[in-house]
């Protein structure tokens, strides 16, 4: 049973063809991780899959629903089942941490502010932050703290599918480890499906069931976690070792 099925998706900005044909499938309760060089279009791919960017062509099915065929109302409903972490956090500057985390609960699910706040506290603990940040504004937090608040916001609505764009970038190794644990817990214990992007090899090792390497607008290699370390594919090899020699040129 696949929760996400992407078929031959392309996305261009004007004449700039960023994604030239990506197909991938995410099995329920598993974690798919997209890797690839900086600027290879990972974030664009993720946004095109969730429909924040309109794909130029191709098909995306989430829970069996073809995204382009859905009307706004059904799309919104589907979105409520998805938790999205943006690469830059994308916290609302004008709202406190508590209101940021509770936003989806209040506006999407009609929770009262008080209920939302209780859940916000719980989710803050999940990402290893304390209650004292609740009334702070995003600008008063460090970069890593912002990322974690954004993570808390993404999981606040208890989504069925999570989309994480570089969840551990900018975090210290211990916090990174915690976030990795959390993602593993989501998929292994709670049956949540995850589609993530990462640059962090350690994170890749821990959280991925399946991995796709994006290069030149296509997934040029796909395999299971264990294949990562044994494959002969020069791109993957270079990526996991961080070597300067290989098909990637900086």
């Amino acid at each position: 049973m696949y929760v996400i099925e992407v078929n031959n998706l392309t996305k261009s900005f004007g004449s700039n063809k960023v994604i030239t044909g990506v197909s991938l499938k995410l099995k329920k309760g598993t974690s798919y991780v997209i890797i690839g060089g900086s600027g290879s279009g990972k974030s664009v791919l993720l946004k095109s899959i969730i429909g924040i960017l309109k794909p130029t062509s191709g098909s995306v099915k989430i829970n069996g629903n073809e995204l382009t065929n859905l009307n706004q109302k059904d799309r919104d409903k589907l979105m409520l089942k998805c938790g999205i972490l943006f690469q830059g956090g994308a916290l609302f500057d004008s709202l406190t941490v508590a209101d940021n985390i509770g936003f989806g609960l209040v506006y999407g699910f009609g929770f009262s502010k008080k209920q939302a706040r209780e859940i916000a506290i719980e989710k803050l603990h999940d990402v290893n932050l304390k209650d004292d940040v609740l009334e702070k504004y995003p600008s008063e937090l460090s970069g890593g703290m912002q990322k974690r608040v954004a993570l808390a916001r993404a999981i606040a609505t208890s989504p069925d599918i999570i989309f994480f764009d570089e969840p551990t970038t900018g975090l210290d190794p211990i916090t990174s480890g915690m976030i990795n644990e959390l993602i593993v817990k989501f998929t292994k214990e709670m049956g949540i499906s995850a589609l993530s992007i990462t640059h962090d090899i350690n994170s890749l090792k821990h959280i991925s069931d399946r991995v796709g390497l994006l290069f030149g607008g296509k997934i040029i290699w796909e395999g299971d976690n264990k294949d990562l370390w044994t494959t002969d594919n020069p791109y993957v090899k270079q990526f996991v070792t961080g070597s300067l020699v290989g098909p990637f040129t900086a």
């Binding site: 924040i52 979105m79 998805c82 999205i84 943006f86 994308a90 936003f103 989806g104 999407g108 916001r153």
Partner: protein
């Protein structure tokens, strides 16, 4: 430059203008369509009411006060040549309510509010906060644009009204305390020739200008491109375009209303 090149340039500019107009119309249509269907975001409307109504008062009031004062002084200079100083109160009143009140207040608000609106929304756009809104199943047009346009349109007449009062008061202060008018006479002359239409036409203009400021402010914010430079450019565009539209529209409305 030959004639052909000239036509090309004119054509390009015209097409660009048409495209922008079309985009703005679609933008407005989307915002109204989503904004007018429940649920309504009252809290956003309340926040904008304070932003637009309350925080614009000082700048609008100051402009009005000094415009009224200067207006009276200038009129005195001219009118005393014809010993028709008695007309000053009503001239100041008409100028303030029909023209200067709505236009100056709106230009000031375009500078203050339109700019900050574009900067705020533009920053939200480039930092993916607008994407984040949709990802939390909140329509950004409904949440960000509609409350601003609706409060801007409804509150601007109120600001213009305050502007009228303060402007006339400024004229009174200069007239009575500087030029030596009799206070009772000045007040009498102000109101004797005042018609409700003078004030109302100004308020109608105010509503139209408020609408323009907020529409352009939001539209330019949504069109921001990446980087601090992108947001800066949009902010400038917002103020310049709404100021030009206000002045153009003022001409058209004056023609239509009188």
């Amino acid at each position: 430059m030959n004639f052909y090149d000239f036509l090309t340039v004119v054509g390009k500019v015209f097409l660009k203008f048409l495209r922008a107009t079309g985009n703005i119309a679609i933008f407005l249509f989307r915002s109204l369509l989503t904004g007018l269907t429940p649920p309504y975001y009252w809290k956003q409307i309340a926040i904008q009411t304070i932003q637009i109504g309350y925080y614009s008062l000082p700048v609008v009031g100051l402009t009005a006060l000094f415009t009224g004062m200067a207006m009276t002084l200038q009129c005195y200079d001219g009118f005393s040549n014809f010993t028709s100083e008695g007309a000053i109160p009503s001239v100041v009143m008409i100028a303030m309510t029909r023209e200067l009140g709505p236009v100056l207040a709106s230009l000031m608000v375009a500078g203050r509010l339109g700019a900050s609106m574009t900067a705020e929304i533009g920053t939200m756009k480039v930092t993916e906060q607008i994407d984040a809104l949709s990802s939390l199943s909140v329509n950004p047009y409904k949440y960000l644009v509609f409350p601003r346009i609706i409060t801007g349109t409804l509150l601007m007449p109120f600001l213009v009204f305050i502007d009228d009062i303060i402007g006339i008061l400024g004229g009174y202060l200069v007239g009575v305390y500087h030029l030596g008018f009799n206070s009772a006479n000045y007040i009498h002359n102000t109101f004797v020739s005042m018609s409700a239409w003078d004030v109302c036409s100004g308020l109608i203009k105010g509503a139209a200008f408020g609408f323009v400021i907020c529409l352009m402010g939001c539209y330019q914010g949504f069109s921001s491109t990446k980087g601090a430079e992108g947001v800066g450019r949009s902010t400038t565009n917002s103020v310049v375009s709404s100021s030009i539209i206000i002045l153009l529209l003022d001409g058209i409305l004056t023609f239509v209303l009188f």
